[in-house]
Structures are given as structure tokens and as C-alpha cells.
Symmetry: C2
Subunit: 506 residues, 2 copies
């Protein structure tokens, strides 16, 4: 009853996160086992097993009838050489499918069930259909707080967990996180040098931009290497107390990465999933203390203070039960932070603040100081209320800049000045009045059309803030781009609606 063995062949097709196997339609196994296109299968070779989806090949040049073709992703995952014997069989349905169906039917899932679902997702046993079903069935108010707790715990359990304390002793391992949505909000690159200069451990890993014009990893990458294996990261943190690295290589909460890839195209960002996603990543990354920034504003993710309070309570409920010390900071999300939107422009802002440049954006400086203050007060030797003064002293004295340079050196400096866009174009106020509203989403979209983050020097450089009085024709911001087509797209959108509302004053 076992299917005969086939020989592994690497097929040069990149299917991203989906394992695909290619079998010729005349392969005896296809005929005997009744495999069809899109059948879910399990591949066994040399003690390794992967789940995959089948594509049936009609061209023996791609895969001959007795070979088992593997897409690049599947080949990398199976970790077995070409030509090796492999066996393929119909995949058993993922063990947690009954739990998924119960959730779809609106029932409450228990701890064991959520652990089973996350284990199956992390092992790539869910199809995209099943992933999307889970995401939709658990969105909005479909998860109660007990379920969110167990989901978070299950996401952590399904991946790797870093234990810094075994290395650093009992001191707090601090982190900060913003729930996102505010362009230019690049505070991590200020907070990490400040708190590590104070002597705290802050091994910060960040993401790249997914839907935004810049992520901390994209921005930091202009100054230093950010793709660092865990062993290097540990050495860097031992030396400098902190880092500003990309978190994508560490296999922390992998089920979360897989779910995010499904949530994104659906534009689903519900409270329970957000809490589980953020807290699972932070706890898996070894943080013991976290300052969480929830910006509130008409075009932020959270639109009202009551909504922010509800979200805060959910974060606190889960964090407390998982042993994470959490401080929530509700901040003003009514406009971008700093002047630049896009990796190079944001890196410029950050360096201006660190250098105490008089032209540095003060809103970015202030926000970073408040966040650093709360993190410094996690230090048991600091008196409540002293955090802000300590943070400001570190920044004003130049110690934060020195510390940033040490971190850059440790990670591997990227030499040379920040790139500057060859194409620049001003967007001006259509009328005289006062800037009464800023649309974060539209500004982010314009910056992306200009090329950010793929083109690091592209983006928007803001010249106005809420409350500013402007004359008709005065510059609101400058578009930066590398390519004519990008500039034309961004200009078209900006000229239709700049993202700023100008109200004439009586």
C-alpha cells in the first residue's frame, strides 16, 4: 500500500511561502493514487517530511514521469539533495481542522485547540483557504479575551523563543512597539541608543515595511547591516546592550508571519489578532518589559480614545498572564511624526535628532524621549518620574549619538552618505488658510507611489504641520523619487488630494 519511490528534482520555480510539488501526469503514482492538480500531499525523503500542493505537469522537459519536482521553497524546506529517493502520499487533513470548523461555526476554542491550530499553521499544514477561514472566523469580536490569551501563548509555543536572561541575568529586557499606521514614526532608532546608553538591555528586532512607506529595518539598513544571524545578534547585544536588526530570520512566532500574509490582502486588522501578533513576537524575542504606543487619530488605526482604552485593556490582560510587564502609551496620531516619509528621509530625521541639530524635527525628538522615559522607568533603580530627565540628558549630552555609532559599528557600518533622490517636486497649497487635518493613509500611499520603500531615497519631505497657516502656492511637501514614472504617479495622486486639508480663515 506504499507508493513506489521517485527521484527528487529541483524545479526552478519560486512559489514563495507555498510548497509546490510537480508530478508528470503519466507518473505511475499519479495514476495509482488518484492524485489531482491541487491535491494536498506529504513528501517523505531521508527522514524529512513536508506538506505541499501538487501541480500536474504535462511536459516531461519540466519533470520526467519518474521524478518528483519540488519548487524552490519546497526544495529548501525538505533539505534533501537532488536525485534522492522520495515518497509521496495523500496528506492527512491537519489534525486541528475540527477546531477550525468549530471556530467557523462561531464556537469558542479552548487552549489545546488553539495550540493545535497554531502548530499546524507553523508546520505549513494549512492551505490558503484554511488560513483565510481562520483569519475571518477569528476577527472583530469573534475571539474573547481568554481565546486571545491562548492564541498568543500558542503562537509563541509554535516557534523559537529567545532567552536573553540566561545570558544577561535578571535585569529587564526592554522593548517598545507601535501598533503602526503613522508615517515617519521612526522612534526605535532613537529609543534604542538612549535606553542602552542608560545600561538597559534592548535587543530590538523590527520588520520591514509591508504596506507602509518605511519600516525600521528598511531605514536602519541605510546605516548598517540588519540581516544578522542570531549568534551575531547575541554577540552584538553582549557588546553594546542593544541592536536594531531585522527580525525576519529568527523564526519567532512563525504562525503569526503566515497569518499576516493572509490578513494583509484582506485588510483585516482586528484587536484580538493584533494583540496576539504583537505580544507573541515580543515574548518570543525574549522581551520582559514592553512600552506599547497606540496612536489615536481620524486616519490612525485607532480612531477614538474609548477604542484605545478597550485595546489597552486587552493588551494588558494577555501581557499580565504571560508574565510580560507592559506600559501602554496612548499618543497623538493625527499627523505624521518627523518630516521625512521614506527610508532615507526618515534616517536623516533620526540622525538630526541624535546630533542635536537645531533643525531636527522636535515632534520626533519629544515622542522618542517620552517612550525612552517610560522604558527607563522599568529600571528598578530609577525613581518614578525621573525617566524623562535621564533620557533627555543622554540625548542632549551626545551619549545617544555615540551609542548609536557603536551599534552601527557592531552591526557593520554601511559607508557613505544617505542617498538623495535625483528627482524632486514641490506640492503646494491650493489656497490660503490653516492646515486643519492630515490624512496619514493618503500621505503613506503617495510616498509609496514615489517609490518608497524599494527606492530608499524616495518619499515625502513635509514642510507643514497641523495648525500652520499657509499661503496659496506655499510648499506643503516635496516629493522625492528616482524614476520619472514614479514621480508622475505620486504627483497625480498628490495634486488630486495632497493629504492635507487647508481651511480658509474668516
Amino acid at each position: 500500500m506504499q507508493s513506489p519511490s521517485l527521484h527528487i528534482r529541483r524545479v526552478g520555480i519560486d512559489t514563495w511561502r507555498e510548497n509546490v510539488v510537480y508530478l508528470h501526469r503519466d507518473c505511475p503514482v499519479v495514476r495509482a493514487e488518484g492524485f489531482q492538480a491541487l491535491s494536498k500531499v506529504t513528501v517523505h525523503a531521508n527522514g524529512q517530511t513536508i506538506a505541499a500542493v501538487l501541480n500536474v505537469v504535462t511536459d516531461a522537459q519540466i519533470v520526467p514521469p519518474c521524478d518528483l519536482g519540488l519548487s524552490e521553497e519546497a526544495f529548501a524546506r525538505l533539505q534533501v539533495e537532488e536525485g534522492h529517493a522520495a515518497r509521496i502520499e495523500h496528506a492527512e487533513p491537519p489534525p486541528s481542522l475540527a477546531a477550525l470548523r468549530r471556530k467557523i461555526a462561531g464556537e469558542r476554542l479552548g487552549r489545546e485547540e488553539l495550540h493545535a491550530v497554531m502548530a499546524d499553521i507553523a508546520a505549513a499544514r494549512y492551505s490558503k483557504i484554511e488560513l483565510a477561514a481562520f483569519v475571518v472566523a477569528t476577527q472583530q469580536y469573534e475571539l474573547d479575551r481568554g481565546e486571545v490569551l491562548h492564541l498568543t501563548e500558542a503562537m509563541i509555543a509554535a516557534g523559537r523563543r529567545i532567552d536573553w536572561r540566561s545570558e544577561f541575568g535578571a535585569g529587564p529586557v526592554v522593548d517598545k512597539h507601535c501598533i503602526g499606521g503613522i508615517p515617519g514614526n521612526r522612534t526605535s532608532m532613537l529609543v534604542v541608543p538612549i535606553v542602552t546608553a542608560h545600561g538597559m538591555w534592548c535587543p530590538k528586532t523590527s520588520s520591514r515595511a509591508i504596506t507602509s512607506p518605511a519600516g525600521t529595518a528598511d531605514t536602519m539598513e541605510l546605516l548598517a547591516e540588519v540581516e544578522l544571524p542570531l549568534e551575531r545578534l547575541q554577540a552584538i547585544v553582549r557588546q553594546t546592550h542593544g541592536c536594531l536588526a531585522w527580525g525576519g530570520t529568527a523564526d519567532l512566532s512563525p504562525a503569526d508571519d503566515i497569518l499576516i500574509a493572509v490578513e494583509r490582502p484582506l485588510a483585516i486588522d482586528s484587536p484580538g489578532q493584533m494583540v496576539a501578533s504583537i505580544l507573541s513576537k515580543k515574548i518570543a524575542a525574549g522581551s520582559t518589559h514592553l512600552v506599547l504606543d497606540i496612536p489615536v487619530g481620524p486616519s490612525a488605526k485607532v480612531h477614538s480614545l474609548p477604542e484605545a482604552q478597550r485595546l489597552r485593556r486587552l493588551f494588558e490582560y494577555v501581557a499580565t498572564r504571560l508574565g510580560l510587564q507592559l506600559e501602554v502609551m496612548v499618543s497623538d496620531g493625527s499627523q505624521p511624526i518627523g518630516r521625512g516619509i521614506g527610508p532615507a528621509l526618515e534616517a536623516r530625521d533620526v540622525m538630526q535628532v541624535l546630533r542635536n541639530d537645531p533643525s531636527a524635527p522636535q515632534d520626533l525628538r519629544q515622542k522618542a524621549l517620552w517612550l525612552a522615559a517610560r522604558m527607563i522607568e522599568f529600571d528598578p533603580d530609577v525613581r518614578g518620574g525621573d525617566g524623562y530627565r535621564i533620557a533627555r540628558d543622554i540625548l542632549d549630552s551626545g551619549r545617544a549619538l555615540t551609542q548609536m555609532q557603536a551599534i552601527i559599528q557592531a552591526q557593520g557600518e554601511r559607508a557613505g552618505p544617505l542617498p538623495v533622490a535625483p528627482l524632486q517636486l514641490d506640492i503646494t497649497a491650493p489656497r490660503t488658510g490653516v492646515v486643519t487635518a492630515a490624512d496619514n493613509l493618503r500621505l503613506a500611499r503617495i510616498a509609496r507611489l514615489a517609490g518608497a520603500p524599494q527606492v530608499p531615497e524616495a518619499g515625502i519631505d513635509l514642510a507643514v504641520r497641523l495648525g500652520d497657516a499657509v499661503q496659496a502656492g506655499q510648499v506643503l511637501y516635496r516629493l522625492h523619487a528616482r524614476f520619472e514614472a514614479d514621480l508622475a504617479f505620486a504627483r497625480q495622486l498628490a495634486e488630486a488630494d495632497s493629504g492635507f486639508s487647508i481651511t480658509p480663515q474668516a
Copy 2:
């Protein structure tokens, strides 16, 4: 700003219902436009356009850098020859995505929105993730009856609609449908000859088994051709008034087919989706009058009479507003109908009934007569209450058999006797008592493990019915199989639990 043109190349990979395009990673278009694996793209060639998903190829043997590879499905859909110039661009998100997101957020969709969603689904513009999100967001009680009406209407509008009346005049075009779940329930093959012998139009199209051990198309296929192009179907119906064909080729309610492919692995079968699916298919197929069978029982799809009544009212609400005359028949779904479960065994039962064989299963005969009676009463010339007598006369007189033979001849007879399984094994009662319950789901699963429907002679031949007194060791049913492995699997399941409950009598 238009990407340069590429040359179409057919890639021999069958990706089933998903259009995949293959571009080499060194293709200038990939670099210039920032395409990534799994990007959604639009392909334009010779005035045709298709939506597709991108796989990036690293092997120039599969696709050279200036070619645009198309999977078999994509190549068939685009209908443009190899070597033809084509252009590719980032896909615009499907226009109805905003409506999908509103539905995910729990809001009510209007008529225009549901039409837009179905049009996008039928044009293959939804990803699997978006399809699954729609299915989960519209399941259970998430669609009100107005939405179900508009969904049904939108499914019809998104496909082809057959108009028999322009050919046959104003007489009713009758059909019957069972919501499914009862093994052996092969009444269509009796009802069609009876009502067409009465002179009514009944161009019946049926599905193949998806999760059941046999569909009407699988069973009829043992007697006649069932894969008939629409023109042949029309000629056959003109000649015999009816047909028993496979409905898969006609492009009727294609959005429904696409959604079913997503609902199936999730085991979602919610009232709103069921009503829209069934009624859209029937109306698109040109039916004007429909008898709908809702079996009720502990292991049927519908478990209680109140549930059946709720479902009936939803069917009636939608049918009335779309101009379909509907008669709902709530039937006994507590056990299989007839003796055979599996294509050949069910075909045998049907032919026994048509031949008035004394050993014919009486429950199958009775159920078919009741259904035919209701359909015959759609005839304006038949008095209410006369349908049953007319149907019985047609069957008893042999006119139904003659009519079935005419339909078989017209579709193309499959010569030779029905296949008989070479391997047979009895499953016996473990104790003495009375048969008090039958598990339709388990019996269907055992029949499928025995090989049905892929092996047409495989399945189960029942020897008992509810209420029968049995002795320990008496035969409950006989397993039929072609392959030893299938028989062993089915036997293992049947011996663990036969699907029949035997209660000892005091």
C-alpha cells in the same frame, strides 16, 4: 509607462482553476515593475485579458527571460497562440474588494455589491484567500434573506443562462433536486423517464459525486454518455423531452462552482449559500418549476423539522422573487434510500424499479413516485391529487422503462452489463436485536473507502433497514471492491462501527 511586450509560451503545468503565469527572474519586466512571486497580475494579448498569479522562474529551460509562461489553465483561458506578443501589469484589486471587506466587517451588502462580487468571482479575479474570506463571512446567519435573493440573482447573471422556452413554448420546464446527504437516493433516474413519458420537458443536468459515494452523473454514465455539449443536449431533449446529463460543461452559475471548491474543504454548508447555489444553478439551467427534496434525520444535512421549515421558507422567498415555481418536499432522511450505495449498485436498483422487478427496493420506488407526482401536478391540465396515480401508471405499464431506453439511446448507450465487483465481503451484526439507527455519513464514508465513485462497481449493498430484527452474525450489508487495499480499509472502518445501531430487545 507600459511594460514592454513578451512572447507567450505554454508551460505544461496544470494548475486547475488557478491561472498561473511564469516569468524568469531576469526578465526585464520583473525587475522594472517590482513583480514578486505570488504578485497578482493582468495579462493582455490580442484583445484578451486574464487575471493570474505570478510564479518566478529561475530556470531558463522552463521559461526564457523574454517569454511569458502560462499554465495550462491560463493558456486555455487566454485563447491566444504561442509566440504571440503579450503585456503584463500589476493587477488592479478586484473592483468589489471594498464590498468584500464590508461583508467581512459584518455589514449588509446591497444588490449592486453582490452583483459586483459574483462578477469578479466568475472572472477569476478573486484569490483563494479572498474566496475563503467571502465564504466564511457569508456563512451561517450572516446573510439575510434579501442578501440571499441578490446573491442568487448575481450568480445567475455572472454566467450563461439556458432558455428552453424559446424552443419549447410556454409549457413548464420541470426539475427536481435533493439537497443531498442521503446515500443511494438516486431518484432522478426514475423521475425523469416518468415525467417525460407524461409529456413534460425535463432537461435534467446533474453533478458528479464530490464528497458522496455516487452522483447521478456517475451512475447514469454506466448506462449512457453523460458529457454532452449543449447543442447535442438540445437535440436530445427535443426528441425525448428529457435527458440525464452531466451539468459541468455548460458554464451555468460559474461563480457557484468556484465558491463550492472553497466551501468543500472547509465543510461549510450554510443555508444562504445552499439556497443561492441550488436555485442559481436551476434557474440558469432554464427550469421554470422545481420540486425540492429536503431529507430530515439525525445524520442528514437537516436534523429537525423546524430547521427544515426555516430552510423551506428561505428557498420559497428567493424562488418566488426570481419567478421559479417551487414545491418543497420534506422527506425521511433517517437512512439510505434503496439498497445499493455506489454507482453500479445504484444503477442496478434503478433498473430493477423501472423493470417492475419484484425484488426492486420499494422505498426508492415510493420516493420516486411521490417526487414525480408533484412534478406532474405542475402540468396545468392535471388535477391536484392526480399526480401520483399518473406517475404509478406510467411506471407500472412499462412506459417509464421504454422512455428511459429512449433517453439512453439518444445520449449514446454504453453497451454491456453493469460491472460487478470481484471482491465482496459481508459485514454482520455484532449482536441480536433491532436496527434502531443508521449513520448516513459513516455508510457513505465506508462506501468511498471501498472505492466508490472512482471504481463504479465498488460500494455497499444493504441487507437491512431500520426496524428490522437481526440475529448476531446476520448480514447487515456486503462490501464491494475492486482492490484488496480498498476492501481492507473499508472493512476496518465497518468492523469498528458498521454505521447501524443494533439495540437488544428485552
